[in-house]
Symmetry: C4
Subunit: 236 residues, 4 copies
Amino acid sequence: MAGLVAELRERVYRANRELAESGLVVGTFGNVSEVDRAAGVFVIKPSGVRYEEQTPAHMVPVSLETGKVVDSSLRPSSDTPTHLELYRAFRCGGIVHTHSEVATAFAQARLPVRCMGTTHADHFRGDVPVTRPLTREEVEGEYERNTGLVVVERFESGGISPEEIPAVLVANHGPFTWGKNAHDAVEQASTLEYLARMEATVRAIAPDAPRPDPALVDRHFWRKHGATAYYGQNKK
Amino acid sequence: MAGLVAELRERVYRANRELAESGLVVGTFGNVSEVDRAAGVFVIKPSGVRYEEQTPAHMVPVSLETGKVVDSSLRPSSDTPTHLELYRAFRCGGIVHTHSEVATAFAQARLPVRCMGTTHADHFRGDVPVTRPLTREEVEGEYERNTGLVVVERFESGGISPEEIPAVLVANHGPFTWGKNAHDAVEQASTLEYLARMEATVRAIAPDAPRPDPALVDRHFWRKHGATAYYGQNKK
Amino acid sequence: MAGLVAELRERVYRANRELAESGLVVGTFGNVSEVDRAAGVFVIKPSGVRYEEQTPAHMVPVSLETGKVVDSSLRPSSDTPTHLELYRAFRCGGIVHTHSEVATAFAQARLPVRCMGTTHADHFRGDVPVTRPLTREEVEGEYERNTGLVVVERFESGGISPEEIPAVLVANHGPFTWGKNAHDAVEQASTLEYLARMEATVRAIAPDAPRPDPALVDRHFWRKHGATAYYGQNKK
Amino acid sequence: MAGLVAELRERVYRANRELAESGLVVGTFGNVSEVDRAAGVFVIKPSGVRYEEQTPAHMVPVSLETGKVVDSSLRPSSDTPTHLELYRAFRCGGIVHTHSEVATAFAQARLPVRCMGTTHADHFRGDVPVTRPLTREEVEGEYERNTGLVVVERFESGGISPEEIPAVLVANHGPFTWGKNAHDAVEQASTLEYLARMEATVRAIAPDAPRPDPALVDRHFWRKHGATAYYGQNKK
């Protein structure tokens, strides 16, 4: 298992660097994790260590079962309990949290990033939803865990598939995205920011713009995802 | 003909790199093609291959007559049937499709990029139009081909000259531009994005701004284009 | 005089490079000139030559008296007659024309860049005005010359000092700025774009924001300009 | 004391470079200072010297008691009296003034940068306030000193803690930020600009967006600041 975790640390370290270089985070903000479900651990970046000082050894393994740190004297990202709840509820391999500028503005405005066209539909099969605000009790209690639970609640109550829409905006907080692995989740975070920028322009220039036909959304989503995909070279 | 196609592959490869470096595309999105009408083929980038992995040999020749791949085992861009219809209907040498941020937002808002001044008129003799949305039947049928047909319909029904306005926004999708060759079409895509950014600001700060006199538009368009041009060094 | 003009060509060449590197122009757009009033000539960039191909020898001298090219076989910028009228009416040493993104959007919206704070007042003692649109006759006649005349008219009819406000927006066209020399005019163009960006945000977030006290505008303008300036090291 | 001041000059020089590289200032605008309260001096950048020409020796020491220059023949930043009043009233180690684009637009709009989410609350425990405009008498009198006094008045009359909200917008002028030292104040200036950009988007897309629960603001502020902080590695 030590070898597995070493590899996971390396992968999470590299994905954190990708995130730092993407311009989606400021200062020590933002965090990336990746899970090894067979080993029962996920690895996440440490709390408050600047990206330029991080090495793979700084990455902190956390038990999926207990939520406790395994084999590290560092404190993991303060958002670790959020990642834990998402790994428990969603079938995903990597998770990213950012404060990227425009997606966070949507979270602050409590507005979804609507699916208004094919660029969005190529990645997400519908609106990227926004959670309800946490109650005062949830904020003052196990805040970071409750953040994860309110995300899960949003997907379950809304009948939203976390595989088809691997992204969410936590109200007055910011975006979380997930994917097959840490690298994939970073790409989703980057795409979400791009879509949010376009959607901010749409809202500014045409507040009443009509929605695209759901058939168009499905056409684009399924030409890139799933068994019927016909985009790219490997799915012929 | 092999030599001609090799040169065309090289030119399309270079134009795809220009596009990648322009910031107008994200990930593997966007595609460039160029036609050799005498040889009856156009060359287009392959589907889903990252820009940094592409070489000239990856570029895929397609027959203008049959729409089938010629001399390549790679799958061409999924938007190939759109390019095909545009080459058949319009007298142009190169075509570019992007998801550039602000032009795509206009497509999502179903608003034209209006000609509000001389920067626009230097390039396009009037508004860059937006197509009608595709019907559900068009989406669920030969979607990519229908995308090309709806562009052609927009120009024909609107009496718009594709030489004077070599750009269009496909509703809820994004921009296509064309030009003398692939390189020229990339420049048009870049110009369109710039004009869309300006137009978004105009709409935000002055929704009721009056249009420029059509005489001003013509003055600028014709001082750069056609027999009466007096801009540049070669047309004295 | 040959030596003088050679030096002027070198200076205009360098200012054109500064402009190209500033991000204020796209393609071959934009032009810079500088005048030598004693020699009776100004030097301006050639029409339609890409910035990366220009050398000092490409810069075109033009007579202040006749408006004709002196000692060059190249065609000067098509906006040369505009520069000529501005040099004749205004006491300035260099002129710049750009299509910089946000200042041009204000020109297209026919809105001034208002003086809303001290950043603006440090450079311009009041709003940067917008001209009236040219009449159809003016457009179809000596268009570029009339562009210069309509700028001069705006300053004279408005009682605006071209030394205190060395910038203008030509309606549905774009900005012209001027200064002590070509380099200085490029800096003004860059400052104007920055101020236009701020003003676009002000209009978006607070359309009814009150104006600053004119005393504040004067305090900032005069602490940097004129006999009472107390900013910088050379005016103690 | 000479050694202390030399070190302070070096630190202020470096923080000025950080500011110049941050993109928050244009031309010679903006200034950074740091205080040594035991020595009774603060060091500030000189007036009107371009960032690329500055060396540590250019930095100007000023007496906290008299406000006069100590041991330098250069004129300090024209905003020095503002820094002096802030050092006298607030318990801080470094001060920064910028004309950063969007924060300055808020100052020009006379709007606070509201605390709309956790990114803001991680840094500032509430809205970044805007001062009242200076009266004509204040502008025409000791203008720069009065700028400092109106900031102090805003915090005192509003019951705002300068430790919990180390930033302000001076009406129709721009932002000032402060921190433990000069470097820290530069980071606050950078954060404020980022928050202002997000807030401009929120105002554009959702003018009536509800405020976050104050409990959420406090949760985030106190998990990073003060005795109960649990973010980072040093506060376990």
